[in-house]
Point group: C2
Chain length 203, copies 2
């Protein structure tokens, strides 16, 4: 995500609990890009300087990460949840049902006032995003209950060439998007690919 | 479905409880096609002459329809379930949760021995299928627990130009496919279309 946005001209800050780890990751990514476009910061500094923050940790760590940073969130901050609750058994991906809720809805329940959550990028393969020279040529579905936040993230997505943002409705539709990732993982296995992704025809 | 398959050269039998209604529907469809390609029959006759039967009734009528015909099913019969449990409120489509199960899995539980269920065509808009002169240019996802039945339906799908069948995994993946229809309905409303459909890139 950081690589693709930086390559598209966005200012990217990479946050971690440890400044050293953030700087090391930023250095690694800048080496790939061949330019110094990404900065590594502590989560607090990253949050202070960011309008849109992408949650890219494993699905079951997102709630704790947010709780640890909640006091540093500023009103108007937009969080983008890309997590998908999946478990793997015998190389088969299975959707991890959580009382009928999507992971995005679970995360949204504990956000401080004034912070908005948008679910997005759930169906776009992370490793394919990292191959910045390859055109994405797919759609990214965004859902959320704040039209303003959704529109702002869609605007950011439009920076990335050949990636089309589509408004996928209210946050509850993350239940659909998260399951679509399971389908993409299955199709990759079934058809020996690593890059299955969705495009909507007729819209 | 009948129109698209008949136009592609398949022998299509249209079944109903009432012979008159079946014949009338067949006549109407043949008029659209400009050729006599579809026959109307009672469900019993249709079943006796069919290898693959598409369940195209509203989602909440499928179980009863199957129960009414179950004694006329022959071993090896393949049922294709295209139903999607949705409710509409204020023009918004909502997925109708049924104890975590897909409608396909609910239907499958009560099938006679030797009859196989494949879930397919859930995400392909019915009215767009009916516009036989328009290329579909999308994917159709098939899921089911019988590899033989799934392959046989995929073979049938390949008759239809520009429609690609994709093996979407076990029958439980109908939970994904049914919800994707809700997304397509939403996208149609949001982007003033009637033809939103899915294509997988990278496979």
């Amino acid at each position: 995500m950081a690589l693709r946005f930086a390559a598209a001209g966005a200012q990217v800050l990479l946050g971690s609990r440890s400044l050293e780890r953030a700087e090391e990751a930023a250095r690694k990514y800048n080496d790939i890009l061949g330019q110094t476009l990404i900065r590594g910061l502590t989560n607090g500094e990253m949050l202070a300087g960011s309008e849109i923050v992408f949650l890219t940790m494993p699905f079951d760590q997102a709630a704790a990460a947010i709780q640890a940073c909640a006091s540093q969130f500023h009103p108007g901050l937009i969080l983008v949840d890309v997590t998908v609750p999946m478990k793997f058994s015998n190389r088969h991906a299975e959707y991890l049902e959580q009382d009928g809720s999507s992971n995005s809805e679970i995360i949204a329940r504990n956000l401080p006032e004034g912070v908005e959550l948008v679910a997005a990028f759930k169906t776009v393969p992370a490793h394919f995003l990292a191959e910045v020279e390859k055109p994405l040529e797919c759609d990214v579905f965004l859902c959320g209950n704040s039209a303003r936040a959704k529109e702002r993230v869609m605007e950011a997505v439009r920076m990335i060439p050949t990636l089309r943002p589509l408004d996928a409705g209210p946050l509850s539709h993350a239940r659909i998007l998260e399951r679509m990732t399971v389908l993409a993982v299955h199709l990759n296995r079934r058809y020996k690919s690593k890059a299955a992704r969705f495009r909507i025809i007729g819209v």
